[in-house]
Symmetry: C3
């Protein structure tokens, strides 16, 4: 059997001891785990960014991978701690919306009886005592390590029906058939990710006929790759995660256009 | 036997090749080591921050873990290079104060005969030649890898009695029984860590009776968690590392109050 | 046999899902790979910095290590994707200059029949479909994982003769025997790396007689280590990578002198 993989996604940054403490706890319980950092640079308390990261990364990992995510503004309150189990992966963290996108994707892909969510109430899988400000180290890390060791998810606590969803705005189809979406986040290069999926675009019409506008900027048809336009020119394309993305070839869409998360994006038929 | 763990803590940043070079050297000597990054974002030459990181993280790792720490402003001088051995862990790096806190904690926890410090004089465990500006790659990484392989610490060089201590200010108890401490560092969220331990607080009085003031700001009693106050309000609590911490719920204590490392903190009896 | 090592060097940053996606793909194909981050903080599209990182790090890793590098401004164009094989390592990524320095070093060290470069045309080793904006995830990660599993490099595609070279300026020897070089990059501490190698210096004269000037600043003789000058004083020394480096003891050469990449450096005989 291969070593189990445990990934970590947090807003803890890389300056402090929080991530190292979590890794130490995991390796103390499951020394043969393979640890993988997804990101510790989630903006502080940014549930939407965390939800997007998990949605984008988790399908790339082999089945059985355990994804711990700790973006947890309500730590120390009675917000639930949960673990999700799908045929593809496990997810462990606070139930505050960060698992909404991966849960929705799992519900579309698998039968209900193959999925489960439990509340992490079985304290024998937690550290003792639990510090009320650091559930990452004292609840989520040890639970993830126990899952990596093979503990059945049902032992971790009682089942619940679903999880919360981060407030990601849904696209709206207009009376004229066009789809109104918005920019969700920008990456390091200034590429802007939107909330428009392939299905959202298909609801407007077949792709060669579609036309994209963002704010006041007409981007025209959806391109296959950055090189379809001249360096410095803006364009729209389907990003590597399957969502509509706005970019500038060899430049920053955000910097060139001044558009940022929240900016409106319209996709209509250009014919 | 499980794979040995080697952690790395440096001020090398993540832009350059220094960390990668160290990891390559470790894996060349001990290919089955499990490498774990604690942090490479220690502010340049900040011995106190390095000492705090090691103190906070190392107790979370399983026994036998090797912690390499390279924050080394005096590299190339005759400052000693050392390895520490305790029943819990090994530590490898320059003897400039970064190991002071973990050594003090070890001396409180274990008998003297279970502890040792050696100077790293046995050059057969170093790279050849040793670059005078990069002992991280040429001395500390290979020594850590040899410890991970099982080389006894006594083979690395002659024993020494103790290590240096980073200049972390000690709290001072006042004539009226109150304890005067200070802010040591701030984390990514703006939470301010102080030099006041649980024992320091106990010397003032039992916790429900204690009252905290930082600079001109009265924080009042010590809370159990952030949620004990309203969002945006400052509070004092015992942080996840056992020290008094100053925070703002869902905000940055540093930004809200203007207080930074060095600011004075007083704990007195409020009754 | 030890676990194969796969290192990653990119300009993807640590905020987004790109690096995590690549790691998931690698572990899906070769779950026993040991992943090592070199850097994900290469400045966006900086081919020279990527080439320098690979040159500096790769000699420290054990033979057989697979180095994936994705700094890829021309992704989606017909720029070739390549894998290099040497007795020391494999390299996988776009053929845009990032492998120029490691290839030149390999050609100096090994016989031609021990080296090979192939174009990555065999799509059975790629993900399907390949996203035209993310060859890191869909071509380079899976190819690296197949190399780590032991797939012969010749199966990946047809051989090509050489690779491209990043535009790293070559030092020029002047009529008076002095050598004219320049600053290539600065590290986190403000140390400035030059394009002058030990051989370049030897072409001017034996080291004790050499004299260094950078911009208008006379640095004088080449020192053994930072401690050879007073704190705050600038100096020239041979850096840990074998190139001439400009530094300020316990300070930043860049900040103190105002010199940055592109600044001219002259080495002449001081006697």
């Amino acid at each position: 059997m291969n070593n189990p993989i445990v990934t970590l996604t947090t807003d803890f940054g890389s300056e402090d001891s929080y991530v190292g403490a979590m890794k130490g706890v995991i390796l103390g319980i499951c020394p043969w785990a393979q640890l993988v950092d997804i990101s510790h640079a989630v903006p502080a308390q940014d549930l939407v960014k965390a939800a997007l990261l998990l949605e984008e990364c988790s399908p790339c990992f082999p089945p059985g991978t355990v994804h711990v995510c700790v973006v947890d503004p309500l730590v120390g309150t009675d917000r639930p701690a949960v673990a999700l189990s799908t045929p593809q992966a496990f997810f462990v963290g606070p139930d505050n919306g960060i698992f909404g996108l991966v849960w929705r994707a799992a519900c579309e892909m698998w039968a209900a009886e193959e999925l489960s969510v439990v509340r992490l109430t079985e304290s024998r899988f937690h550290r003792d005592p639990v510090c009320p400000t650091f559930h990452g180290r004292d609840i989520f890390a040890p639970v993830a390590a126990h899952l990596a060791r093979g503990t059945p998810v049902a032992e971790l606590g009682p089942p619940v029906k679903t999880v919360r969803f981060a407030p990601i705005p849904a696209p709206e189809q207009q009376a004229d058939g066009s789809m109104l979406g918005q920019v969700l986040s920008a990456d390091r290069f200034g590429n802007c990710l939107t909330n428009l999926s392939r299905q959202d675009l298909a609801a407007v019409g077949p792709q060669p006929s579609l036309w994209v506008k963002a704010g006041d900027i007409v981007l025209g048809e959806i391109r296959a790759t950055y090189a379809a336009v001249e360096p410095g020119e803006p364009l729209a394309l389907i990003g590597s995660n399957g969502r509509l993305e706005l970019a500038v070839r060899n430049g920053s869409f955000g910097a060139v256009t001044g558009l940022s998360p929240g900016a409106l994006v319209v996709v209509c038929r250009g014919d």
